[in-house]
């Protein structure tokens, strides 16, 4: 009787992780020689400058011999690095600094300009409509005597006597309330 050897099952990655691994293999061709250093925004190998995501998934620049030499020196004493070295190390990993990300870009000027242009277009369209589209107003509105007669009738029939029109008319003295 053959001894049955219990072979432990290898932990199989979930389907999601398999898909991520497949995409990562595709992406490795796209990013060139750049080093993967973290999860980034969503796990994909992309570089994005964003104030809410301080650590992108990949370095910004490809690993060239100069940068590799700088990284070797970075493993030593940092006081021995000049300011230019430190700046070069930063720019190797990142494209923009936080100040550059947050710097004002003046887009509000063009946005405001286009919005005002759109508003003025709508005003011009309204003027065109008044001139060419709408029929003239009825004379119950344009004729001032008719409007006064209608207003007198509205007061006589006590329209809105509580806090509207008739509440503002002084009936004893036949005039508007002061």
């Amino acid at each position: 009787m053959a001894l049955l050897r219990v072979i432990p099952r290898k932990a199989t990655p979930s389907v999601f992780m398999q898909q991520v691994a497949r995409l990562h293999n595709i992406e490795r061709d796209k990013i060139g020689n750049r080093e993967v250093v973290g999860w980034g925004i969503n796990g994909m190998y992309s570089y994005v400058d964003h104030i809410a995501f301080p650590m992108p998934a990949i370095r910004f620049k490809e690993n060239s011999p100069e940068i590799m030499a700088l990284k070797e020196r970075e493993k030593g004493d940092w006081k021995k690095l000049s300011v230019e070295d430190k700046k070069a190390l930063y720019r190797a990993s990142f494209c923009q600094t936080y100040s550059e990300m947050r710097a004002p870009d003046g887009r509000w000027k063009s946005i405001t300009g286009w919005v005002l242009f759109g508003i003025s277009c709508s005003f011009w369209i309204y003027i065109w409509e008044k001139l060419f589209v709408y029929p003239p107003m009825p004379d119950t509105i344009t004729n001032i005597e008719k409007r006064q007669a209608q207003l007198k009738r509205m007061i006589d029939i006590r329209v809105d006597p509580i806090d509207g029109l008739s509440s503002k008319w002084d009936y004893e003295n036949n005039r508007w309330k002061k």
């Binding site: 104030i51 809410a52 995501f53 947050r102 009825p138 119950t140 004729n143 005597e145 008719k146 007669a149 209608q150 007198k152 009738r153 509205m154 329209v159 809105d160 006597p161 509580i162 806090d163 509207g164």
Partner: protein, 182 residues
């Protein structure tokens, strides 16, 4: 009557309409409160530069903003239900008016004491006097006694119409072959 500048309800001419206006004011207060709170939240989130995009769950917060709206809804719903049943209260009306809709005029019948029937046509613009309201005035007006309970039976002769008096807070469809009572 409504003018071109009317934004709110007309002043109430019956106690039920007054209650409807009060309920409208009450609901509008609650709505403005909610909009102010939510608007403040949106603006403060939008202008806040320190945003954590990975902030996800907070069970106490979700509990709070589930229970508080249910309280608010109770505050809106209780007056609403009270008003709903108040509108359907039955009284002893003193007079009955029958309103029949035609294309395109109303005819009224006052049959309690005298057999009175008349048609009510809109006054055309070219025949109206200076003081007539354009498209609103009619030749024979419907007269209803003041400070009394009035029963109106509304029907139609040809197609669907609808009869309403906004200041009294009544509106009912005039359906051919059916009597609706207001």
């Amino acid at each position: 009557m409504s003018t071109l500048a009317t934004l709110n309800f007309q002043n109430a001419a019956s106690p039920l309409m007054e209650q409807l206006i009060f309920f409208h004011d009450h609901s509008m207060t609650i709505l403005i409160l909610i909009i102010t709170i939510v608007g403040y939240n949106i603006i403060s989130t939008y202008t806040n530069i320190n945003i954590d995009q990975h902030m996800l769950e907070s069970q106490p917060l979700e509990l709070f903003w589930t229970i508080v709206p249910s309280f608010i809804l109770v505050f809106i719903g209780l007056p609403s239900i009270r008003l709903l049943y108040l509108l359907d209260e039955v009284y002893q009306p003193s007079i009955t008016i029958k309103t029949i809709g035609h294309q395109w005029y109303w005819s009224y019948e006052y049959s309690d004491f005298l057999n009175l029937e008349f048609d009510s046509y809109m006054i055309p613009v070219n025949e109206s006097a200076d003081f007539n309201f354009r498209l609103l005035d009619v030749d024979n007006r419907t007269v209803i006694p003041f400070n009394t309970q009035v029963r109106t039976l509304i029907s139609a002769a040809d197609v669907l119409h609808s009869w309403t008096v906004p200041a009294l807070g009544v509106k009912a469809d005039a359906v051919p072959g059916r009597l609706n009572q207001v």
